[in-house]
Amino acid sequence: MAKSSEESPSRRTFMMVVIGLISSIIGVALAVPILGEVLSPLFKKRDIVWAELAKVDDLKKISPLTPKFVPVYFRVKEGWTVNTLPRQVIVVKDITGKLYFFSNQCTHLGCPLHWIAARQKFLCPCHGGMFNILGKVVGGPPPRPLYQWQHKIKNGTVLIQNKFIDNPKDRGI
C-alpha cells in the first residue's frame, strides 16, 4: 500500500505536484479553444466592397461649398450574414470644382455629424466636435480631419469603397 502524505513528506510533495499538473492541463486545454473563439475576429479579414454612389455629372451640379448627403449601400459579409450597411457620404465641391467624399462620422468617437447651415460647420452632437466644410477640425475634441471614403469613377459613375483614405488603424468605419 502506498504511503499517505502524513507518513512521507516526499509523497505529499509528489501528490501536490500531480494535483497542480492536472489542474493546469485541464485549465490550458479549456482556455485555448475559448481564447480562439473570443479572439477569432482578429483573424478575419474585413469584407471590402465597392458600391455605386451617383453619376459624376449630377454631383458636379451641386453648388460649391454646400454639403450634399448621399446615402450609399454596402453589401458586406458580417459574421454569418450578408447585410446591407447604409452609410452617409457627404459630397462637397470646392471652388475649383474638385469633389470630396467625406464620411459623416465624427473622427472623435464616431457619432453622426449634423450640418449647421447657419454656422457653415459640421457639428458632432455627442461631444461638440466641429469641422469646416472641407473637413478640417475647427473646434472640440476630434483628433483629425474628417475621414474621406475611398472612391473611383467608372463609366461616369462614382463608386465608393467601405474604407477610408489615410486611415491605417481602420478607425471610424
Binding site: V38, L39, P41, L42, K44, R46, F69, P71, V76, E78, G79, W80, T81, N83, L85, P86, R87, Q88, N104, H108, L109, G110, C111, P112, H114, W115, I116, A117, A118, L123, P125, C126, H127, G128, G140, P141, P142, P143, R144, K169, D170, R171, I173
Partner: protein
C-alpha cells in the same frame, strides 16, 4: 408534525444549528438603518435576475429585431410593460444605491483594516454592475443603443497598444454587426451576472469572517483608543441579524421596490426610435450614470490628449478607488476625525453631480 420534520432534518444535517448560525449574526445596534443598503442591493440584484430571465422568453439579440422585440414585450405582451419597467428602473435604482452604499462605507471608514478585501470585492461588484447597465442599454436595440455601442467600442480603441484589438474583439469584427449584439447579449445575460453571483457570496463571507464593524458611533462607550484594533471588535450594543436587522432590511426593500414598481407601471421603459443609419439629425444620449464620463470626453482635444479622457482619467480614478483601503491607512473611523478624507469625498461627489448635470444638457443646437 412540524417538530417531527425538524427533527428528521436535524438528525441528518443539523439544520436548526445551521439556520441559527446564519441568522444569529450579531449586528451593531445604533446604525441599523445605514446597514440595510447592502441587503437592499442583494435584493435588487435578485429582482434583476428574475425579471431578466423572463424577458428572455421574448427577446431576440439581433440588431434590426432587438428593438422590435423590446417593443413587442412592452406593448403586446400581457403586463410586459411592467416587467420591462421593473428591469429598467431596478437597474437605475441599483446603480444609484450602489453609489449610496459606497459613499456610506467611505464616509464611515468601514473599509479600514481588517476589511480591505471587502472593499475590493465591492469595487469588483460595482464595476461589473456598471458594465451590466451599459450593456443593457445597448441591448434595447434602438438608435441610442447603436451609437452607444459605436462610441464605447471607439473609446476602448484608444487604450494604448491593444486598443484596436479590443475594439475588434468586442464588436466581433471591425464593424458593429449581428455578432456585436450577440457578444453583448452573452456578456449581459451570462458572463457578468455569473461574476456578480460569484462575488456577492465572497463579499458576504468576508463580512462574516472579519466581523461586523459598524460606524464610529457604535463605539461611543469604548474606553480604548482609535488605534487599538480591539476597539472595533466590541460595539456598545448588538442585535441578532434575524429578525432585528432583517426586519429593517425588509422595510427598506419594500419602500424601494414600491418606488420601482410605481415607476414601472407609470413610465414603463422608454424604447425610443428604431435605428436609422441614415438619420441626419439624431443626437445620441448616454444613460444618467454615464453622463459624467461623457462630459469628460469633451475636454481633451487632439491626438495627444484624447487618451486622458478615454483611458487615463477613468482608469486611474478606478484604480484609486480600488486601492483606497491601501492608500488611506489611518485608524480613525469617524468622518469628523479624518477631515481630509471627508472633504475629499464630498468634493468628489459634488464634481460627479456637476459633471452629470452639465453632461445631461442638450449638446447640439437644433438643426437648421
Amino acid at each position: 408534525m412540524l417538530k417531527k420534520i425538524q427533527n428528521w432534518f436535524d438528525e441528518r444535517i443539523e439544520l436548526t444549528e445551521l439556520i441559527k448560525e446564519f441568522n444569529g449574526e450579531r449586528i451593531p445596534r445604533r446604525g441599523g438603518w445605514a446597514y440595510t443598503l447592502g441587503s437592499l442591493l442583494a435584493f435588487l440584484f435578485t429582482v434583476q435576475v428574475v425579471t431578466g430571465i423572463f424577458l428572455l422568453f421574448y427577446y431576440v439579440p439581433y440588431f434590426p429585431m432587438a428593438r422590435n422585440a423590446t417593443y413587442f414585450i412592452k406593448h403586446h405582451v400581457l403586463l410586459g410593460n411592467i416587467l420591462l419597467g421593473i428591469h429598467l428602473w431596478g437597474a437605475f435604482t441599483m446603480i444609484f444605491f450602489l453609489l449610496v452604499h459606497m459613499a456610506r462605507v467611505y464616509f464611515s471608514g468601514a473599509y479600514k483594516k481588517p476589511r480591505e478585501l471587502q472593499w475590493v470585492a465591492g469595487m469588483v461588484l460595482f464595476t461589473v454592475v456598471v458594465i451590466l447597465g451599459l450593456t443593457g442599454y445597448m441591448l434595447v436595440g434602438n438608435e441610442n443603443s447603436w451609437w452607444t455601442i459605436n462610441v464605447l467600442t471607439n473609446v476602448a480603441s484608444h487604450t494604448p497598444i491593444i486598443g484596436g484589438f479590443l475594439r475588434i474583439v468586442a464588436r466581433g469584427g471591425t464593424e458593429t454587426s449581428v455578432l456585436t449584439m450577440q457578444h453583448i447579449f452573452a456578456v449581459h445575460v451570462w458572463l457578468l451576472p455569473a461574476a456578480v453571483m460569484l462575488f456577492i457570496p465572497v463579499h458576504l463571507f468576508l463580512i462574516r469572517k472579519t466581523g461586523h464593524q459598524g460606524m464610529a458611533l457604535e463605539y461611543n462607550n469604548s474606553k480604548l483608543s482609535d488605534d487599538d484594533i480591539n476597539k472595533w471588535k466590541k460595539p456598545d450594543a448588538t442585535v441578532p441579524f434575524f429578525p432585528d436587522q432583517f426586519y429593517k432590511d425588509m422595510i427598506v426593500a419594500l419602500c424601494v421596490f414600491a418606488v420601482i414598481y410605481i415607476l414601472a407601471v407609470v413610465y414603463s421603459a422608454p424604447i425610443g426610435p428604431m435605428y436609422r443609419p441614415l438619420a441626419l439629425n439624431f443626437a445620441p444620449e448616454a444613460d444618467w450614470y454615464f453622463l459624467a464620463n461623457e462630459e469628460l470626453l469633451k475636454y481633451f482635444p487632439g491626438h495627444g490628449l484624447i487618451i486622458f479622457s478615454t483611458f487615463l482619467i477613468p482608469n486611474i480614478g478606478f484604480a484609486i478607488l480600488f486601492a483606497l483601503p491601501f492608500i488611506d491607512r489611518g485608524h480613525e473611523r469617524s468622518p469628523f476625525k479624518r477631515p481630509a478624507a471627508t472633504v475629499l469625498g464630498i468634493l468628489f461627489l459634488l464634481l460627479l453631480v456637476y459633471l452629470t448635470l452639465i453632461g445631461g444638457e442638450p449638446k447640439a443646437p437644433a438643426t437648421v
